[in-house]
């Protein structure tokens, strides 16, 4: 039982890294992207191929996977720069399908529908992580989640974050404020894809195998659900959303009633969550954080008067 809970926590952390990336794209910058699973798939398969066929060290493979996913982020980011809202969503949806089909059909590299098995676990200071021992994995992943979270936080609370939010609020006004919109849009897509790639890489290394149909449209929707449920444009809320979604999707197994409620119920559940949230609480459970810059000022003015 404890093992199963640890497993869930590990999935929560892996998905959190990915959903934090998607939150940058959807929540902060307001670009509806439906291909986060594709970025995870790219990351997972990069790691799988590099480590099995390429015999690469995990840490190098991890970085390469992130970089490859980021590169794909640029590739999808540039041509879709002028697209907004629904049109961007459709374009990213198409990209996701392309990635899935490339993985499925590029037999010589991805072994097609068979997937890739026997991915070695990462080793650190002579210790090798395996999926049998979950606690070390948990700490390793927690470290990366914390790093991702902090980096995003620093970024968001600087002029970069404000620029992203300005783009979400009004692109024309943002460009009239001297913000290079194209640069930020492609940049945020790249960063989001990098996060997805990292998450995918961990996914592959933890499961020690990858299968092509894992990273399908449903997974993108699930990650989007995490972002929307917690609250768009709020990293903490995104993590909370991820916790809730992963637990909800594993609940039948957790309670031992998976034979009564089949896994396909998840899809109904995600759909229901999206519809319900959009109607009754579009800002998410927690919602956006309002940064009260003026509050800091009070002390400063008092200080000046003294």
């Amino acid at each position: 039982m404890l093992d199963f809970i640890l497993l869930i926590v590990i999935y929560i952390i892996i998905y959190s890294i990915s959903s934090l990336g998607l939150n940058l794209i959807v929540g902060y910058t307001g670009m509806l992207s439906l291909c986060q699973a594709a970025f995870m798939g790219i990351g997972a398969y990069s790691t799988a191929v590099l480590m099995t066929a390429g015999h690469m060290d995990f840490w190098l493979a991890l970085l390469s996977s992130g970089a490859i996913a980021a590169l794909c982020g640029i590739l999808i980011g540039i041509p879709t720069l002028r697209l907004r809202g629904d049109y961007l969503a459709i374009a990213t949806l198409g990209f996701g399908e392309i990635v899935k089909n490339v993985i499925l059909n590029w037999d010589s590299v991805t072994k097609g529908p068979m997937g890739i098995n026997g991915i070695p676990g990462p080793s650190l200071f002579g210790y090798t992580f395996t999926s049998m021992e979950k606690l070390p994995w948990l700490f390793l992943l927690l470290f990366f989640l914390a790093a991702t979270y902090m980096l995003i936080r620093v970024m968001i609370r600087s002029r970069v974050g404000r620029a992203l939010e300005a783009i979400r609020e009004d692109e024309i006004a943002a460009s009239a404020m001297g913000i290079n919109i194209a640069k930020y849009k492609v940049g945020v897509f790249t960063t989001g894809a990098f996060c997805g790639g990292l998450a995918g890489s961990f996914f592959a290394a933890y499961s020690q195998s990858v299968a092509p149909l894992t990273f399908d449209f449903m997974m993108s929707i699930m990650i989007l659900c995490m972002v929307v449920l917690g609250g768009l444009g709020n990293s903490f809320a995104t993590v909370i959303g991820t916790v809730l979604i992963v637990i909800a999707s594993e609940l039948p197994r957790l309670l031992g009633i998976s034979h009564i409620i089949p896994a396909q119920m998840n899809q109904i559940l995600f759909g229901f969550i999206l519809v319900f949230m959009m109607i009754y609480r579009p800002q998410g459970i927690i919602g956006r954080i309002k940064l009260n810059y003026g509050k800091m000022m009070k002390d400063e003015i008092l200080h000046m008067e003294r």
Binding site: R159, R162, E165, A176, M177, R288, K290, Y293
Partner: protein, 260 residues
């Protein structure tokens, strides 16, 4: 030489000529009015100068340099800011954040190197100084417009007149040499308009050249040094308020031709 001028600027939308070979001049440190009946091409001219739209033919010169092809964000960076006819605030951001955005591209602290690589190397130190600089600058402009009490409100929650002021504050935070105001007094009551006039004069006294589109003739005639009149995309008159008031073509454009 004028601070900004257009040379035979022309903008066609399909068959419609919105702006027809207009030579528009703005002298340094002046307040210039741009007036004309609805659909005369005033906003189109603004958009073509500020890089939100590009002319079919003709050029725009600022400080002697051709800026016709520059995109909006570069136009802002060389010192031209603007407001919009239909207020375009970042509605779900606070008043403070709105003004902070104005200083986005001047982010690097003046004390630091202009060299990006050096700034990048300075990393977190730079980030902190940058925020402090943005912060102090924002306080300055909020104070200028007496918006400090509203600083942590969402922009969308401000009263209409305050929103207009915030938009000007945000534009000024980019520290422009030239400020374009598109109908700043629209929807304001006479008292608010009166205050706006004082504010615009104050802005000019800071050394910022102001160009404004406005339908409120009292405001235009009171504060503008020169006025340019557009009608059907063409410049029909140019001169001091006194000259414009007595110009036959202008009266005709606004009131129509008399029969006798």
């Amino acid at each position: 030489m004028p601070l900004l001028y257009t040379k035979n600027l022309r903008r066609e939308f399909g068959g419609v000529i919105a702006v027809s070979d207009v030579n528009f001049e703005v002298m340094k440190n002046s307040i210039t009015g741009l007036i004309g009946p609805n659909g005369a091409g005033k906003t189109t001219l603004f958009n073509n100068i500020t890089g939100l739209d590009f002319p079919t033919k003709g050029n725009v010169f600022f400080k002697g340099e051709d800026i016709t092809e520059l995109p909006a964000y570069k136009i802002t960076r060389i010192g031209i800011a603007r407001t919009f006819q239909n207020i375009r605030l970042f509605r779900e951001m606070t008043v403070f954040e709105n003004v902070m955005i104005g200083r986005h591209f001047r982010g690097n602290h003046p004390k630091l190197s202009r060299n990006r690589l050096v700034n990048f190397a300075l990393g977190m130190v730079n980030l902190k100084m940058e925020e402090k600089d943005i912060y102090e600058n924002s306080i300055k402009w909020l104070d200028f417009f007496n918006l400090l009490p509203f600083r942590d409100e969402y922009a969308k929650n401000l009263p209409y007149g305050r929103q207009r002021e915030l938009e000007i504050a945000r534009a000024l935070a980019t520290e422009p040499d030239l400020l374009f105001l598109d109908e700043p007094a629209a929807g304001m009551n006479p008292q608010e308009t009166e205050e706006l006039m004082a504010t615009i004069r104050k802005i000019r006294d800071l050394g910022v050249t102001v160009v404004l589109i406005e339908h409120d003739m009292k405001l235009v005639m009171n504060i503008c040094d020169t006025i340019t009149v557009l009608n059907y995309g063409q410049k029909i008159a140019e001169g001091t308020p006194g000259q414009i008031q007595n110009n036959k073509d202008v009266i005709e454009a606004y009131l129509g031709k008399s029969d006798d």
